[in-house]
């Protein structure tokens, strides 16, 4: 998957916005949105939030977790834990990316938030790489990792599947039976 496809999936997540217009409920294939009344916050899909913002029709409301103290605590928890900790949103990276791209003025301390989220991401990716190495060295054929998000999995997908495939080939050589080995004779 391309990261832009992961982002497309993330755009279905609901975020809160404060519209500056009033409008009846709109009926979309993915569900109903609205009604909109000027000044009153309401949840809308992320893609719609970005679209409204681009046309200066709304302000973003930062999600509860998009807060310096919450994120600092989260970062500490992630650093202290050997395992992956649950994230406040399965699409935390994409939501941060889009809200901060279009609404730095609506999100308090946007730059610090950007840095904290990136720190958490880096911690998790480093952890992911170490787990993969341990896994490959152990020679096991399966492992279970909890709380990884789609974007995180996606960055190692191509590499990991290729590596495991290669391991599998090497192992099937070891475990034989070689009489019907799959290698071509000619």
């Amino acid at each position: 998957m391309d990261p832009s496809e992961v982002e497309f999936l993330a755009e279905r997540e609901l975020v809160k916005v404060i519209p500056n217009f009033t409008h009846d409920k709109i009926y979309l294939i993915s569900g109903d949105v609205g009604p909109f009344s000027a000044g009153l916050p309401l949840p809308v899909p992320l893609w719609l939030a970005v679209n409204l913002k681009q046309r200066q029709k709304c302000r973003f409301v930062a999600p509860d977790w998009m807060d310096i103290d919450v994120l600092k605590e989260k970062k500490q928890e992630e650093a202290d834990s050997r395992f992956f900790t649950p994230m406040p949103s399965p699409h935390y990276m994409e939501i941060t990316q889009l809200l901060l791209q279009w609404g730095t003025d609506d999100i308090p301390k946007a730059d610090e938030i950007r840095t904290l989220v990136k720190d958490i991401w880096d911690l998790r990716i480093a952890k992911l790489r170490s787990s993969i190495d341990v896994f490959v060295k152990s020679g096991e054929s399966h492992a279970k990792l909890n709380y990884l998000t789609l974007m995180e999995i996606n960055t190692v997908r191509l590499f990991l599947t290729k590596a495991l495939n290669h391991m599998h080939q090497l192992k099937s050589v070891t475990s034989r039976d070689t009489t019907n080995s799959n290698s071509q004779a000619f």
């Binding site: 290669h166 070689t178 000619f186």
Partner: protein, 209 residues
């Protein structure tokens, strides 16, 4: 994107270029029988026939197709790079070994050797796996390095399959970075078109100079 012809990277495929090249690697063979009229395969002699006892390095595919166990017309020996001496080097410090020079299809060819039932089969099989496990972290970390670092010296030591793995890792990182900098929003010229243009420009400029 891997600028290579090998779309079908599954090395089991009959059409796989890598598999064909890997099966061309040589194995030392000794003939048990005379083979009439095939003397031209042995460039060290002018005999019309291959005489019994002749030692020849044959490509794997040929050795494999002549291998009939005890009634075989040839005896096959373990290739030098997979013998005990080398196996010890691989296990001692897998990261410093230049597998491209010793390969370049170290794993693929090694896997094929197993099907020849050589006496040291088990040892070869285990050294293949151990070598890869030992080298894995370096390959992964190297491929996840920032893109502007020169990696040619590291890549030059990798076997062909390791190189594919390495570029898969780089691809993942590259795609993510393009997303992070919002570059992936931009529609771009397809890779093939861009390569084709570059090449054409190169041909034109080398013609005019």
């Amino acid at each position: 994107m891997a600028a290579n012809f090998t779309l079908d990277s599954n090395p089991d495929s009959y059409f796989s270029l890598d598999d064909i090249l890997a099966s061309q690697e040589k194995v030392p063979c000794t003939f048990n029988t005379q083979v009439s009229n095939m003397g031209y395969m042995d460039q060290s002699t002018t005999d019309t026939n291959i005489v019994s006892g002749t030692k020849l390095e044959l490509p794997f595919w040929l050795a494999k197709s002549l291998d009939r166990g005890s009634r075989s017309i040839i005896n096959i020996d373990t290739p030098k790079n997979y013998k005990e001496v080398y196996r010890q080097i691989f296990t001692a410090d897998p990261n410093v070994v230049d597998l491209h020079k010793l390969g370049p299809y170290f794993y693929l060819f090694g896997g094929k050797l197993i099907s020849l039932h050589l006496p040291d089969n088990d040892d070869i099989a285990s050294v293949l796996l151990k070598t890869f496990q030992g080298r894995f972290r370096r390959i992964m970390d190297g491929s996840q390095n920032t893109l502007n670092v020169d990696l040619t010296s590291q890549v030059s030591l990798l076997d062909e399959q390791e190189r594919l793995l390495f570029s898969a890792g780089q691809q993942g990182l590259h795609d993510f970075q393009k997303w992070e900098t919002r570059e992936s929003e931009k529609l771009s010229t397809s890779t093939m078109v861009a390569n084709h243009r570059k090449r054409k420009r190169f041909v034109l400029s080398s013609k005019s100079s």
